[in-house]
Symmetry: C2
Subunit: 256 residues, 2 copies
């Protein structure tokens, strides 16, 4: 009992990954925390979805690019004793809010930050496609909002040289319409133009769809901000219309 009382007094901010879309892709833990919290903070678009689902909660949302303000505000609420949750789509750590919240939390030493993982788009998209990330893989964002383009291109080059399967986040936006093409040009320096690739749109949401295509064809594809891109390694192949990377270079078990 003493422990329970103590736990109640502890100031905690949860950073929760909600998975890629529908509620069923959330973990049990994530849902339980949402059900038991007082206030939910996040991007306007996610918060609006949760408002209907949890009508009795307090909500706090800010637009994109005001993330530090949002972090500080939600930490302040937790510090004031509210059970506060910062929600992210996908996983809380992968390009999510866990990192800025932790950095910002140095100003709030009484608040413990607990990160609750979720299914990121790389895993959800991969499941839909088949198994493109079944061997070593790299995840790279094409957004140059916080990263210089040279650094992004360097990563693409080394991921290609290492024959990693690659998942690309943020392949396009209004301001970066040709970024996927530029990324493909870098990859084509050392990867075969027939390398099996795929695009997945609206993962875990209505209208979810995928297409398999070659790296050469990917170069011409017009991605939007709802697209996640997959590039196979040298062994990735089409199996029954799906994208499958074998789990190694040696043959497995009975197939030998």
């Amino acid at each position: 009992m003493a422990e329970k009382t103590e736990a109640k007094r502890e100031k905690v901010l949860y950073v929760v990954g909600m998975g890629p879309g529908e509620e069923k892709m959330m973990t049990l833990q994530a849902r339980e925390i949402l059900e038991n919290c007082d206030v939910i903070a996040g991007y306007t678009v996610y918060v609006d979805l949760l408002r209907e689902r949890f009508p009795d909660k307090e909500f706090y949302s800010t637009a994109m690019k005001q993330e530090w303000k949002r972090c500080r505000e939600v930490l302040r609420m937790a510090d004031a004793g509210k059970k506060a949750v910062m929600v992210c789509s996908g996983d809380a750590g992968v390009y999510g809010m866990a990192s800025p919240i932790l950095e910002c939390s140095e100003e709030f030493p009484q608040v413990k930050v607990r990160v609750i993982p979720g299914v990121t788009a790389a895993l959800a998209g991969s499941a839909l496609l088949g198994a493109p990330l079944a061997h070593d893989f790299a995840v790279i964002s094409l957004s140059d909002l916080l990263t210089p383009m040279e650094q992004i291109e360097k990563r693409l080059r080394y991921a290609a040289l290492g024959d990693f399967a690659i998942c690309l986040y943020n392949p396009s936006s209004r301001k970066r319409a040709d970024y996927l093409k530029r990324a493909c040009d870098v990859l084509l320096e050392c990867r075969d133009r027939q390398t099996l690739c795929a695009v997945v749109r609206q993962i875990g949401r209505e209208g979810e769809e995928f297409h398999l295509l070659s790296l050469e064809e990917l170069r011409e594809y017009q991605a939007d901000m709802f697209t996640t891109v997959f590039i196979g390694n040298a062994s990735t192949k089409k199996v029954r219309g799906r994208m499958v990377t074998p789990r190694g270079y040696k043959k497995e078990g009975e197939k030998e």
Copy 2:
């Protein structure tokens, strides 16, 4: 109604990622599929855990290294009309069973394979640590069961050169006691010896623990088969005892 009847007649094999440990880290979707299936197949150790939880199900387990046999058998059950599930720890795609099941399913064209994603150890370990994978990252397995050691070392080298945050799976086993040391030697060729690293043990299970250490110290660490290893990028830092990778190289929002 017509659609429902049709769905019932469809032959489906689910490959389900259960997350890293406790049931609460499973997705709602994964649990629903386990609740509604007839037969659950997988490694002996996972199947034994589920046996208690779902006492009325049929179970099918085989030891390690008999995976192709297990794939064929569970596909045969699905083909015979049973609602069959192949379970994997973590995610079904990341070094999981989705890939061999899909390859094997070419022999069973009537059976549709549906992959259900889960929280892989990279994400669950990352959440515990803070946010080590908040920027571009690579996942590499040190197991040379199916991959030649030269290929593994090549991947380590390029991931290090690209300044990816890195998550290492299977850092050790009885036969490969010195593999983590070898991996660190490759990384130390181009990464600073003070690079922030971490080891996480028993993710999502009782006895879960983590330690932060430098790359130099990681070289001397004796990992076991329950360990997952994280290597930071050049910007990764310690924040309140946690491991945090900033989300970019430029400064964010209000901090500018």
